[in-house]
């Protein structure tokens, strides 16, 4: 239930998991980010839709990824994003940064950041900004480990 992609022959920038937690079936954003990251030089694992937070965290650990990206457009982010963080902690992977995107009201963003999400992007965010956030998160994690 996953696809690995990588964008080219250059040395990999790192490994990323793009996850769709919950019941939401909107994949346009997640798939675009996955492909853009691959083109940017990452090895990308895409989970497909309807994954539980535990499944996403387990896949992240098994695949030994540097960063997790979560996409959700259903409004369940306040419940599901913190659950993914909790599952990562349970598996001793609290150091894996999690970047999130989707239809997320501005008012919810500070709470998600406080909960431990590294960055949150909403519709219309330029891809350079998103790639830069992944680069920064990946570099920081690699320095720490």
């Amino acid at each position: 239930m996953r696809v690995a992609m990588n964008g080219g022959t250059q040395r990999s920038r790192g490994r990323v998991l793009i996850g769709k937690p919950g019941l939401d079936g909107h994949t346009r954003g997640a798939k675009f980010i996955a492909k853009a990251l691959a083109d940017h030089g990452y090895e990308v694992i895409y989970t497909g839709i309807r994954r539980t937070p535990a499944e996403i965290a387990t896949a992240a650990v098994q695949e030994d990824v540097d960063v997790v990206g979560l996409s959700l457009l259903s409004g369940a982010h306040n419940t599901l994003f913190p659950q993914v963080l909790a599952e990562l902690r349970k598996l001793g992977a609290a150091d894996v940064p999690v970047i999130a995107g989707g239809v997320i009201p501005q008012a919810d963003i500070p709470g998600l950041l406080t909960a431990g999400i590294t960055a949150v992007f909403t519709p219309g965010a330029p891809i350079e900004q998103i790639l830069a956030a992944f680069d920064e998160a990946c570099t920081r994690r690699r320095k720490m480990s």
Binding site: D24, R28, G48, V103
Partner: protein, 549 residues
């Protein structure tokens, strides 16, 4: 005065009998300055190509519209998609929309309801009442339509994998209101193929899912003849990133698959064909969209006539709902979305839609606030009452450019359908991911054009402005989940558990055989079996679909 013979024939054979049944809204139609607006502008000397490709509204090939008078006879339906939280709260929004002048209801269900999970299911955590209303049992459905007489309103329900269950609930609610099931009006989305392609709310594998679709089509034709049993949807295909041509081709490709399935089940196209309905997306690309709607109408009519050898006009006419394109809305400078939605709605009306949903300006941020939802409805009302667009049929027909685009979209969509045929039809083309890959490629191209600046989006890659205060957004009360679970527990405690078990056992037998599932579903929902319980039975019989990703 047009003296053309063909036009005369149309007036006598098509228009006159239609007017006798359905008079126009006014004796005369004129511009704001008093210039008379003809019902239909036609060339003084129609060529053979005109008669073949455009013809007259209300007859084959329906390029110019499905009825001879279009909006002069009846305006399109203002049908605003809404629903959130519990049934009681969604009911309040529906009554508000009806008071504001909406002319049809359109129910959004939450994801657990769409996926056959009860509100108490662990998989439902965080999703209850979010993107639509939570329905667990008939008791919820009764609350949803409390005080809304189902013989006087038509209801569209965006529900697919669990469509037969929700239709059964709707029918029983009508019955309990004293409205005969035969009189319910509305539309069930019930288009499972596009769920595998784009929208993602499938449960069962394709074969049993198509059987459920076919059961609903057969049941409606017999028991609820004014209910559209399916709305074959290009909307989500377009929203997933397809081009306009792909939207037409994949949607009509799905229509072909459903028709073939129903014919194979022994149904007659003359019986169910008139009730097949469609649902398209409309973007801000006004000229292309107008041409797309006209091309889709013509291509569908030709498919019904030539592929299925059916000459019934009511089977050939493509009736459709339109929704403005959610993917075009931006979180930046959200008020600009009002302008986008207006352009999109304009294109839908110029394209001859039968009903329309206009998105609210704040939908890139959250579900719409009440004020934003009302403004979206006002946009339609301005188009209907102030713009003059509703006073003449197919106003852009005959434009060199529109006709050229219409021809080209039809040609390319027909070629794509031929390619799908070559792959064994939509079933196999979807199963091996070919359709999804075509859409993903188009989506990626589109997004790259935005990122490179080749495609300009106001507020995103041009006319960027520093963000001012964000508008107030609608928030679903986080307590809704607990409230819904509590209501479910109450319903479960009050029902006759043995009767529920019996009805579910009966459903299991029917699901295993070939009998139509609807009567068993009606029985189960009457006894307050939950959506989750019913789906558990069906999952046991049908299995679940495992996507390749």
């Amino acid at each position: 005065m047009n003296t053309n013979e063909d036009f005369r024939r149309w007036e006598n054979e098509i228009l006159r009998p239609f007017l006798a049944q359905a008079p126009e809204r006014a004796e005369q139609f004129a511009t704001g300055s008093g210039l008379e607006l003809p019902r239909l502008a036609v060339p003084a000397e129609p060529t053979a190509a005109y008669s073949r490709d455009l013809g007259f509204p209300g007859e084959f090939p329906f390029t110019r519209g499905i009825t001879p008078t279009m909006y002069r006879g009846r305006l399109w339906t203002f049908r605003q998609y809404a629903g959130f939280s519990t049934a009681t709260e969604a009911n309040r929004r529906y009554r508000y929309l009806l008071e504001q002048g909406t002319t049809g209801l359109s129910v959004a269900f939450d994801l657990p309801t769409q996926l056959g999970l009860d509100s108490s299911d662990p998989m439902s955590a965080g999703e209850v009442g979010r993107v639509g209303v939570a329905i667990d049992t008939l008791a919820d459905m009764e609350r949803l339509f409390a005080g809304i007489p189902l013989d006087r309103v038509s209801t569209s329900m965006t529900i697919n994998a669990t469509a037969p269950i929700l239709l059964a609930m709707y029918a029983v609610v009508a019955e309990r209101q004293g409205v005969p099931i035969a009189r319910i009006r509305g539309t069930l989305q019930n288009d499972i193929l596009k769920e595998y392609i784009a929208r993602g709310t499938y449960i069962f594998p394709p074969a049993p899912s198509l059987r459920l679709v076919s059961d609903v089509i057969a049941w409606c034709a017999r028991e609820a003849p004014d209910f559209n049993p399916i709305s074959i949807s290009g909307y989500h295909i377009r929203e997933a990133g397809s081009t306009a041509v792909q939207e037409v081709a994949f949607t009509l490709g799905n229509a072909i698959a459903y028709i073939e399935r129903a014919l194979a089940a022994g149904q007659r196209l003359e019986d169910f064909g008139p009730k097949l309905s469609f649902f398209f997306c409309v973007t801000s690309d006004v000229l292309e969209e107008v041409a797309k709607f006209r091309a889709a109408r013509r291509l569908y009519a030709r498919i019904i006539r030539d592929r299925f050898r059916c000459d019934h006009a009511r089977c050939q006419m493509l009736r459709f709902h339109t929704q403005t394109a959610g993917h075009t809305l931006t979180a930046q400078q959200p008020d600009v979305n009002i302008v986008r939605v207006t352009l999109q709605a304009l294109a839908a009306v110029l394209g001859g839609t039968q009903s329309l949903h206009t998105n609210a300006r704040d939908e890139a941020l959250a579900l719409p606030t009440e004020a934003a939802a009302a403004l979206a409805l006002r946009t339609q009302q301005v188009l209907a009452y102030e713009s003059g667009l509703a006073q003449t049929v197919d106003p852009l027909g005959g434009s060199f450019l529109i006709e050229q685009l219409t021809d080209e979209i039809e040609r390319q969509a027909a070629a794509l359908i031929a390619e799908i045929d070559g792959r064994g039809g939509m079933g196999p083309a979807v199963a091996d991911g070919w359709v999804q890959s075509r859409i993903e490629e188009a989506a990626y191209r589109h997004q790259c054009q935005i990122e490179s600046g080749e495609r300009q989006i106001v507020g995103v890659n041009c006319a960027v402005a520093p963000e001012t205060a964000t508008p107030p957004v609608f928030a679903v009360d986080p307590a809704v989940e607990a409230r819904q679970q509590h209501q479910l527990a109450e319903t479960l405690a009050a029902r006759d558990a043995a009767a529920v078990r019996e009805s579910l056992a009966r459903l299991d037998v029917v699901a295993a055989g070939r009998e139509n599932v609807m009567p068993a579903l009606l029985d189960a929902v009457r006894r307050q079996a939950t959506v989750g319980e019913i789906c558990a039975v069906l999952r046991g019989r049908f299995g679940v679909h495992q996507p390749s990703v």
